[in-house]
């Protein structure tokens, strides 16, 4: 009988201790961010999908020389690029750079092997689409759109 009441007492006490801790939480600053309405600043080091770096000094506004190093080294095989020979221009001119982001695992191999540092990570983290093709990015068009 005595044991019975002792158990009720310890149980009640432990309940109160827990309640006190949760009660204290009411007076602490709110940590939850209401995501679609509020946003946290994203770290500049965040690695989103790769982009071609815009370089105003180059005539094509990017540094890609179509050497296909990234395409060859990519472990997932998600890069497809094409360069073509144009008259009066030294080297190859990039005509297409496709990134299949559905396959990319963001390992960063392409950025590391690039001999001209033409690739970098974007800060984009909101990728929404209804079709698979929505994630087939055209990096060349992206870099040309940038102003």
């Amino acid at each position: 009988m005595k044991d019975y009441f002792a158990q009720i007492f310890t149980g009640g006490k432990s309940l109160l201790v827990g309640m006190m801790i949760t009660l204290r939480e009411f007076f602490r600053p709110v940590v939850t961010v209401q995501y679609p309405r509020e946003r946290l600043p994203i770290s500049p080091n965040y690695r989103g999908h790769t982009i071609l770096v815009r370089d105003e000094e180059k005539p094509e506004k990017h540094r890609c020389i179509s050497c296909k190093m990234c395409e060859r080294e990519c472990p997932s095989g998600c890069i497809g690029l094409q360069g073509e020979k144009r008259e009066g221009v030294k080297g190859l001119v990039l005509v297409r750079y496709r990134l299949d982001f559905t396959k990319c695992s963001l390992c960063g191999t392409c950025v590391e092997v690039c001999p001209t540092d033409a690739l970098d990570y974007s800060n984009e983290y909101r990728h929404v689409g209804f079709r698979r093709e929505d994630f087939h990015y055209d990096l060349l068009a992206m870099v040309e759109e940038q102003k």
């Binding site: 201790v17 801790i21 695992s105 191999t109 990570y121």
Partner: protein, 370 residues
Amino acid sequence: MSTTPEFREHRYVLNMGPQHPSTHGVLRVILEMEGEYVMDPQPVLGYGHRMHEKMAESRSWPGFLPNAARMDYLASLIYNHGYVGVVERLAGIEATPRAEYIRVITSELNRLQSHLLWLGVLVLDLGAFTPIMYTFEDREKILDILEDVTGSRLTYCYMRVGGVVRDIDDKFIERTREYIKWQRSRMPMYDKLVTGNIIFRKRVEGIGEFTPDLARRYGLTGPVLRGTGVAYDIRRAEPYSVYPDFDFEIPTETGGDCLAAYLVRVREIEQSLRILEQALDRLPEGPFLAKVPKKIKLPAGDATYAVESPRGELVYHLTADGSEVPYRMKIRVPSFSNLSILPEVCRGMLLSDLCACMGSLDLVIPEIDR
């Protein structure tokens, strides 16, 4: 399925998972029940099988780096560490001292966030919702720190052969120190809220007990083994990286039950904080990436590298035939062995205790299936 004929009419089969909230992923357990008691639990694996070992054999070795992080999503950096470790050992490359320190610091942060998540979900499995909110608040701080240096929040691909991708800066060190202080101030709260809670204790005390002998027979490692009183930790038993430089304890408990595994992990949080503190104090200057040739051919032969993941012993065994593509890669994951004890330990247990037992094993299913 082993059903003794005379009791068959009382028994029924209950399917748990593969999408059950307390199986943490896609583990399916077929339970042979007698009333509320589990008589024969049989885990069914393979729902998350992605043939990682085969993938390692079919591409040149750097291509496996992102895969290493995707086996155990809670200890990506430690899996990274193990993989670059085995390649370095085979190719005879040494990482720079600064890189080794950075690896230890980030690995320990990774271990901390894994333990914090585990603490939250174990208690969640037992029916208490509040603590996971608090552990996620702490965990978020670690993820922010790691995001700033590695660029991602969960599946890091941070380590490279010879070093790491990006150097840590003063901001990182300052934030980590702040975090250590914060986490220390939070531990007494968890002690009161979870460890001291009478309902929690009644749910885990004496549940799923096993002896060191049984643990050895099933190849159990990590906190589950240390909960039976065996101080076996790869960081001590087979020191790798710069772990011998640090002063830390291997926490053990003697109970061998769910509570012991819980207490070991909570005490490990404190030890990880200690390692972090020492590593930050002694961080050497120098390059963060050693000068390595652009293309590394793996010399013929094999190498083994073991690391301590938050769940136990993780071993990479790499066999190469002189080309860039590994001939065979064997990965020994801790959760697989830890799960194998389930049918032995959980026989005759209440169904709700089975959830506690699986929670204390800290299973990560993609790691088991690979």
